[in-house]
């Protein structure tokens, strides 16, 4: 037997050049996907001399995608009067809770509006914004800086007309 081989076809005519394979769930051995190699063994090569990896093609076999659409089974359950309405309750409950909380908060703030006083906070903030900087020469940082006075730039003297 060829090691790790889980499927071997019967001897088929080479002239066909084609062989159909249907993937069996048992080949996955409980895993979701497995890496396999497909190889072709000529009649004149004995099993013990045949290496599947020599000219094989590596590929994956996998479980396949699940179908999320309403299937025939689901339709049959609905027809039988069995329906799963959990999603319906969740879809209704969550927005309702949000709306109730928003309404409660609005009335709470409205009722307690007159007991609120943020004037000290606002005054401090406004005071910071309207701070007077003063003269630059009074600032500690620029006290030692010698600022040159403005000198008039040399001007071009227009020669008088002769």
């Amino acid at each position: 037997d060829i090691p790790a081989t889980f499927f071997s076809s019967e001897w088929v005519k080479n002239a066909d050049g084609i062989y159909p394979i249907e993937i069996d769930e048992d080949w996955l051995q409980g895993q979701y996907e497995r890496r396999v190699v497909v190889s072709v063994q000529p009649f004149n090569v004995p099993d013990d001399e045949f290496n599947p990896l020599l000219n094989g093609v590596l590929l994956y076999i996998m479980m396949g995608s699940k179908v999320g659409k309403t299937t025939k089974e689901e339709w049959a359950l609905i027809d039988a009067g069995i329906s799963d309405e959990k999603w319906y309750y969740v879809a209704i409950t969550i927005p309702t809770i949000v709306v109730v909380v928003v309404v409660f908060l609005y009335f709470f703030l409205h009722v307690n509006g007159r007991y609120r006083d943020f004037s000290d906070v606002t005054k401090a903030t406004l005071g910071k914004k309207h701070r007077v900087l003063g003269k630059i020469s009074d600032m500690k940082r620029f006290k030692k800086m010698k600022n040159h006075k403005y000198d008039e730039l040399p001007s071009f003297k227009k020669p008088s007309k002769q």
Binding site: I23, D24, V40, L59, I61, G64
Partner: protein
């Protein structure tokens, strides 16, 4: 947990495939039984009048069949049946003497050799509607994509085969030759073997 979806093979025709009779090798009568695999009819009765626009079956990269309908555009056939060049022909050298040819420009003592491609026996091959594998349809595999996929055309490397579906493995028949005699091997066997893979090589495909 949800059961694996197993799509049923779609029937493309309401007609039942029935056995038919043909005469091969001039006198031998044979009963041919058509088979349907993955929606493809093998050994089907050929049309009484050959139609150049008759659909044929190609294979996708993973080996699933795909029907191709040839189109006639501006007097030319597009997506027509595949041509196999000389891949399935046998090269033989024919030797002609002066007596055979009696060519006016040939020396009487000369021998003329000519290479001739002999067509293969298509008695059974003609019953296969699926495109055949030829070296020009090989792909390149490996990390650097520098290793030819010989003898396989399908499936391509890293294809994903899903449970319940049927895939076609196709190979170039002339690749499998006997080392000593040089003749094409008569019978073959297809194997599927598990491969140990590193954690980094594991495919984390969409589930």
């Amino acid at each position: 947990y949800k059961k694996v979806h197993r799509p049923k093979v779609k029937e493309t025709t309401s007609e039942e495939v029935k056995p038919w009779i043909r005469t091969i090798y001039e006198s031998q009568v044979e009963i041919v039984t058509p088979t349907v695999i993955a929606g493809v009819t093998f050994s089907g009765r050929p049309a009484p009048t050959p139609d150049p626009l008759e659909p044929w079956v190609s294979l996708k990269k993973d080996g699933t069949p795909q029907t191709i309908k040839p189109e006639l555009k501006n007097g030319r056939t597009k997506k027509g049946r595949p041509e196999y060049s000389t891949y399935f022909k046998t090269l033989s050298v024919m030797t002609y003497s002066f007596e055979d040819l009696k060519a006016h420009n040939m020396d009487p003592n000369d021998v003329h050799e000519e290479e001739v491609y002999v067509d293969e026996d298509d008695t059974y091959i003609s019953l296969n509607p699926i495109i055949r594998c030829t070296p020009d349809r090989y792909f390149y595999k490996g990390v650097a994509k520098d290793i030819p996929s010989e003898p396989f055309c399908t499936p391509r490397e890293n294809s994903m085969w899903k449970v319940g579906k049927t895939y076609f493995v196709s190979w170039y028949t002339r690749f499998l030759e006997d080392e000593h005699s040089g003749e094409v091997v008569d019978k073959v066997r297809i194997h599927l073997s598990y491969v140990k893979e590193k954690a980094s090589e594991k495919g984390y495909h969409k589930r």
